[in-house]
């Protein structure tokens, strides 16, 4: 009798059940999408924060002082120590290599340009260099680590004629202020350190590079006469905001604490691992970038958490409202059942069974809709997937059932308490 009552209720009141089901589906969908977005937002914003550029720099251990004023390096070029270019792919071999978004070596060289024989700094670097470490192939360079560098024909607009030089070419980029000073255009040939080189584009960075020449690393090494030399390496890594553990000195840690520190992607522990893989190096965080991203990240995460709570609250309320309405309309039915001798327990059981069925159906439909919604949000805002943990499914289903029950409970209690005589007379 019990299953038949429930079944008939669904068959004959299909429209009302559909309405309640839609409310649950929508509520669950919003809740799922918001939870998915909120759990993934930290990772997504962390990646966006990489547009501030590298947060770590690797320099030779025994380096002499940089003497640089206004973008002009006054240090004798062959002075000081260098890193070995051949060691760089090892950066991909560190424990947190998945968190290393990219790296760019830099080799500044002071050169004479043209017949005027003026001193200009030429920086050798990777633009988009294919490298391999072990079985892994990857590309890296300033196009990844310095996303605000723009190459144009000198007018600020991108154009196919003015492009990034290839990493194995003899082409260079001129900083925009230097290009104006020298009156050079892309495609022109320029004499740099006694070599005829082609200007492939005008570089705009809003920093010291606007007064410099940027060239492929191999070319800078040839000019300097030091093959394989690199002055410093900028590394862009996804890091975890620092906490009390992050800033401790690894030398004072017990082995367990050390393992925990080493296996957390703090900027400090990634710097430590970079020092380990690159011989005679000193790796340090660039505090301007590294110190601020933690605050920004935690603010955005906190905000999304609070908004998610608001969304969960609103969808819980919507589901309960729909359930309460659906049950309130059926007082006559309750009166009839009770007049025929059904107890409060039996009547409540029917309603709860119906609510359970609705919650399960709405939960499954809502979870799929919410997953689609989250994916859509991820694709349109961040150009990447927002992945949904499968673990979320039972959690969401449980929440849906709980909220539906909680929303129905008050209405069921009132419906059961209602005097069947009044209900059947249609008063109430």
């Amino acid at each position: 009798m019990f299953p038949r009552l429930v079944y008939e209720s669904f068959r004959h009141q299909a429209r009302r059940k559909l309405l309640a089901g839609i409310a649950i589906t929508l509520g669950v969908a919003v809740a799922t999408a918001m939870i998915a977005v909120a759990t993934d937002i930290g990772d997504k914003i962390n990646r966006e924060l990489r547009s501030y550029g590298a947060n770590l720099v690797v320099t030779p251990q025994e380096d002499t002082l940089d003497v640089e004023v206004g973008g002009v390096n006054l240090k004798p070029p062959s002075d000081g120590a260098f890193l070995n270019e051949a060691d760089l792919p090892k950066i991909r071999g560190t424990f947190w290599h998945h968190n290393i978004v990219g790296f760019s070596p830099m080799l500044p060289v002071t050169v004479k340009v043209g017949s005027g024989a003026k001193d200009v700094t030429l920086v050798g670097t990777y633009f988009n260099k294919p490298l391999s470490f072990g079985k892994e192939d990857f590309t890296t360079g300033v196009r990844i680590t310095h996303p605000w560098w723009k190459v144009s024909c000198g007018d600020g607009k991108e154009s196919p004629n003015c492009a990034w030089p290839a990493d194995d070419s003899q082409n260079v980029l001129l900083g925009e202020r230097l290009a104006t000073k020298l009156n050079q255009k892309p495609g022109d040939t320029i004499e740099i350190a006694g070599r005829q080189l082609t200007v492939s584009g005008i570089l705009s960075t809003g920093a010291a590079e606007d007064d410099q020449i940027v060239a492929p690393l191999a070319l800078a090494q040839q000019i300097l006469g030091k093959p394989g030399a690199v002055r410093r390496v900028y590394v862009s890594a996804l890091t975890k905001p620092p906490d009390a553990l992050a800033i401790r000195d690894p030398k004072t840690m017990t082995p367990e604490v050390y393992d925990r520190w080493y296996c957390s992607p703090y900027v400090e522990s990634i710097a430590y691992q970079l020092r380990e893989v690159i011989p005679h190096s000193h790796a340090e965080q660039i505090r301007q970038v590294a110190q601020n991203e933690g605050t920004v990240l935690s603010r955005i995460k906190g905000l999304m958490l609070l908004v998610t709570l608001a969304a969960l609250f609103a969808s819980a309320l919507a589901v309960s409202a729909a359930m309460a309405t659906a049950i309130y309309e059926r007082r006559v039915e309750v009166g009839l059942m009770k007049a025929l001798g059904a107890g409060n327990l039996a009547v409540s059981a029917i309603f709860f069974a119906e609510a359970l069925l609705l919650a399960l159906a709405g939960g499954v439909a809502g979870f799929s809709a919410g997953a689609l919604l989250a994916r859509q949000i991820g694709r349109s805002i961040f150009n990447s997937q927002i992945s949904i943990e499968p673990v979320l499914f039972p959690v969401i289903l449980a929440i849906a059932v709980f909220v539906t029950f909680a929303g129905s409970a008050a209405a069921i209690r009132r419906a059961v308490k209602f005097d069947p005589v009044f209900a059947l007379r249609g008063e109430g």
Partner: protein, 386 residues
């Protein structure tokens, strides 16, 4: 009728009614409907209030969070750099002029550079600056102790190894003039600053005679506002180069846009869900009163009157809910601001018209929908309870 109280003969009732202020039948019906079905009316009103509060909080946050995040982004330091043309210094009143354009609250820090020599002939860059300002602008500088006595210098980590490895006083020469300096503290940034020595601007100028050549400015506001500041500065200081710091500006724009888009999507979802909640509750409420509807119709009320009655009722609910919800929502937004940004969100009353219009619209839709359904049914059928 509980209001009758001690006056209950028909004449007394009639007198009292004649004396009491005249309320139209329409208004009386509205009031009675709310009073007699308190519980259902209260639950409908509650839904309305919650929806309006959530919508208000979301809109307030959406507007205010961008300003809040911008202040956070200012911790990344200067977004505009003013540099003197080659070989020159900036005019002496440049700092005052800049502050007149961008406002005194904006941080502007002057820097002047010179290459000095240590006793053993090594070159080192010495920078003159205003320490109080630099400290406020560059939050990320890790400084063991800021200089506070005359002839004290702030020494970069790497410069310290060269000039003062044991933190002893040292001597620097610039164009034959020597100066004795004591290290106050160490500076660590992981960038170029580590190789430099920082001095107070007046001491620096007494020693080298070089005036500031660079001023770093942290301009507040949106990208468009910063652009305007840059244009104004360029007019004011024609002798200088005004450069936006692209690294900072583009990074900020990027992160802010993504956050705003996410917040917008979430706020829309939340507002839609709460509208749905109101819709579900109100439809139930109106549907529930189909007997009132049928009686009114049976007594000869025109369709216009009935529609007007239910619409007025829904609108009143929407207005009351919007007003109460608005204030609660402002409180919620302020709380979120305090918890997350440690600064309250400023209430924005410009949001109110939207919340009010939205609430009334949702209320009207949820009243009209069931009425449209009921209109097709004969009153007799409803009254028979079928």
């Amino acid at each position: 009728m509980s209001t009758i109280g001690t006056l209950h003969t028909p004449k007394q009732v009639a007198d009292r009614r004649a004396q009491s202020p005249h309320i139209s039948m329409f208004a009386r019906m509205l009031l009675r409907a709310a009073v007699l079905r308190r519980r259902r009316a209260a639950s409908a009103l509650l839904a309305m209030i919650v929806a309006a509060a959530v919508a208000t909080a979301m809109m307030n946050l959406y507007v205010d969070v961008q300003a809040k995040l911008r202040t956070e982004f200012r911790n990344y330091g200067a977004n505009v750099v003013i540099v003197a043309k080659e070989g020159q210094s900036l005019p002496a009143d440049a700092l005052a002029k800049i502050e007149s354009v961008v406002g005194a609250k904006t941080m502007a820090v002057p820097f002047s550079y010179a290459v000095a020599r240590t006793k053993d002939g090594q070159s080192v860059v010495v920078v003159g600056t205003d320490f109080t300002r630099a400290r406020q602008l560059n939050h990320w500088w890790k400084v063991s102790h800021w200089p506070d006595a005359p002839n004290e210098a702030l020494i970069g980590m790497r410069a310290a190894i060269v000039v003062s490895p044991n933190r002893q006083p040292f001597e620097l020469t610039f164009q034959g003039k020597a100066i004795q300096l004591a290290p106050a503290g160490m500076l660590q940034t992981g960038a170029g600053e580590d190789s430099r020595i920082y001095l107070d601007q007046s001491e620096f100028q007494n020693w080298t005679g070089i005036a500031p050549s660079t001023i770093e400015v942290a301009a507040n506001g949106s990208a468009a506002e910063v652009e305007t500041s840059i244009r104004q500065l360029a007019q004011l200081l024609p002798a200088a180069d005004i450069r936006p710091v692209r690294q900072i500006m583009e990074g900020e724009a990027n992160v802010l846009n993504k956050t705003r888009a996410t917040l917008y999507a979430s706020a829309t979802l939340v507002v839609l869900t709460s509208a749905l909640c109101v819709l579900a509750t109100l439809i139930g409420w109106v549907f529930d009163r189909r007997r009132d509807f049928a009686i009114m119709k049976a007594l000869g009320a025109s369709e216009r009157l009935i529609n007007g009655f239910f619409a007025a009722e829904a609108a009143a609910l929407g207005v009351v809910g919007a007003i109460l919800g608005f204030f609660i929502g402002i409180g919620v937004a302020a709380w979120i601001g305090r918890v997350n940004f440690h600064a309250p969100v400023v209430p924005r009353f410009s949001v109110f018209p939207y919340v009010l219009a939205g609430s009334v619209a949702v209320a009207l839709i949820s009243a009209i929908l069931p009425i449209e359904l009921l209109r097709r049914v004969q009153p007799a059928i409803i009254l028979r309870g079928e």
